[in-house]
Symmetry: C2
Subunit: 357 residues, 2 copies
DNA sequence: TTCCGCGGTGTAACCGATTACATTGTGCGG
DNA sequence: CCGCACAATGTAATCGGTTACACCGCGGAA
């Protein structure tokens, strides 16, 4: 068994009847050479108007459509990029992808969707697509921790989007630690002295950066880090519900505010609190991270951190296409750190005094 | 200007240094012919083990990666399908796409994402991708109304997913009218006699089907259709908020229940009611449609209709790949109508008597 | 021994475009 | 009127694979 394996070609494509016309057929009908037809399409300024007219007519007659597969093959470009996400049904990712698609499309590039489901094997398969020229570059949205399959092949056009401080290679991101600290500062300014945390999975780079910001915030405010009001989720709504319940059950003393590492967990936490008749924000304030669409519509609307999604997507596409075009003027391991936005809504209130379990 | 236009090839791809090895290079190193190398990869059973070993060694030496662009060109297959959605950041679509990607990937096909943003021009460009062989087929998730660009070219592998009764061509869907009627029936069974509707845009095929079900439900229960408790949205949360507000302001008499044509509008409506201190479900019951992830986590959790997303996605992929392989055994305009699920949660309560504005 | 069949391999045509280079024609300056 | 520049077009090589077909050598049957 070879280490490069792929499915055999099953059957020659069943010919789609008559409309399989090619450039030679058109040339014949128009009474010109194939070169002229090709030029009429790709470089019309080099062809006389009369000839263009003839070619156009012939094209209509045989309903010709240029075979882009051949074209791309010849030019050694696929004009597509793959976008790797851990989970496309996560609204944060789908919202970013929407922007990526827009910008890529504008530049003549198609987007190949790579839903990795956090499976390294799938991820590798998508990386192979660019090694084998099926895609020209790759935008990765997984904040990779230890092992990154892309890393090994460091001359393929690659960029990480929404990564973290520790991300290797080029990365477009916000300052996760600073943003999280910003949240803590805000809560402190509302007189909260007991601020809980619903974190992501321990090894996750985002978790690491945001935890750092949380701790910095506490420290600066002279507050102590209390493990009993730190719960671990995995960035899903459901895990937010669990984490909040766990915290309520085991906290030495209940927090008056909870920082959640993303909006989904915040939404989950609010639901958990609600079902325990704990009022948000009167009893406990909640903040999220990401500003997904639903953050604005939950009850109460969620105070959160917005990443400039569209801007980041655009930068990512621009940069990637440059790399694809061979422009290596910006160093390969540049981090573009974009400004985040603090989005004030209604999920926080000033701390009440002396709240005890 | 020709009617087939595309960007000229800008520059020959900047050669990526040494690893541009091709099959001839490998053949040379292994001391065999290119045919043997090709066979070693695609049809290893036709090559002696010893030779395979030699080839494998040579491949490692030069770090060879077969050029899939060439391969696909030769076999006249791109091994990718385009998935057209009106808006990928809509959770319903992103959840379906997630399934499509999975099933396509399993079958060796890549997914090209086509976010049309309801723009016909963009849609046409994606359809052109399959005409020009950049994709082998297309899954369309827009319920097209009058004009459908795909229609015109009816021999390209095409399928509509989540369409409606009136959808032309092959379509995989649920019975929208029946499902909506099911909702009305349920509310009637809870003694609701005044059931409002938050509909989608008037021309939208989904709106048409679901409206039909709504009316049938009313009629069967002997209830009258009252325009003053029918509001129009556009399937977004925000429009749900507006629609609900509008209905509250202009209803001849307030409804005791509201059927929403999708979950997002239902979520929006719940928010609007909440801000008016109308309690769901105590004062007004709400039902949605689609069962997006958030439906389970809003307050109260939303009673809704679930479409068998994964199943539908799978059928769509299977059918499309068959068509691509030239299997036309199932008629080209078959509608696969899959069973929907009634998902009972907490957003409905028995009607109170005599609720007046 | 002869011949056939078959497994393993090589040669070269082929897919459908692009484009370097050759060729032809045309107008204009000297 | 000659020659040159340039515009318009054609010829054919080329991209990197796949595969039909030819070929060779060997073992077994006749």
């Amino acid at each position: 068994m070879l280490h490069i394996a792929f499915a055999p070609i099953v059957a020659p494509r069943p010919k789609g009847e008559e409309n399989m016309s090619n450039i030679r057929e058109v040339a014949r009908r128009a009474g010109v050479s194939v070169a002229t037809v090709s030029r009429s399409l790709s470089h019309p300024e080099k062809v006389s108007p009369a000839t263009i007219e003839k070619v156009k007519k012939a094209i209509d007659e045989v309903n010709y459509r240029p075979n882009m597969l051949a074209r791309n093959f010849r030019s050694a470009r696929s004009y597509s990029i793959v976008v790797l996400v851990p989970d496309i049904s996560n609204p944060f990712f789908s919202e970013v992808i929407s922007s990526i698609e827009m910008h890529a499309h504008k530049r003549g590039y198609a987007v190949l969707l790579g839903d990795t489901q956090d499976d390294e094997e799938r991820e590798k398969r998508y990386i192979r697509m660019v090694e084998t020229r099926l895609a020209d570059g790759i935008i990765q949205m997984r904040p990779h921790s230890v092992h990154n399959p892309v890393e090994s092949n460091n001359d393929l056009p690659y960029i990480n989007l929404c990564g973290t401080e520790g991300t290797l290679g080029c990365c477009i991101r916000v300052d996760n630690a600073a943003a999280t600290k910003h949240m803590v500062d805000y809560l402190v300014s509302l007189n909260h002295r007991r601020i809980g945390l619903i974190a992501g999975l321990r090894g996750n780079p985002h978790t690491i950066d945001r935890l750092k910001g949380y701790k910095q915030g506490l420290e600066e405010a002279g507050l102590e880090f209390d493990k009993s009001i730190v719960a671990e989720g995995e960035y899903t709504i459901w895990s937010g519900v669990n984490a909040a319940n766990h915290m309520m059950d085991t906290a030495a003393e209940l927090p008056t505010a909870i920082v959640c590492m993303n909006d989904q967990m915040a939404i989950g936490a609010m639901q958990a609190l609600r079902s325990r008749n704990i009022k948000v924000p009167e009893d406990i304030s909640i903040v999220g991270f990401d500003d997904i669409d639903y953050a604005r519509y939950c009850d109460p609307p969620l105070t959160t951190i917005a990443q400039p999604r569209d801007d980041m997507a655009q930068v990512a596409v621009e940069y990637l296409l440059r790399r694809i075009d061979g422009d290596n003027s910006v160093p390969i391991d540049t981090h573009f750190v974009r400004p985040y936005d603090f989005v004030l809504r209604k999920s926080c209130a000033p701390a009440k005094k002396h709240q005890v379990k």
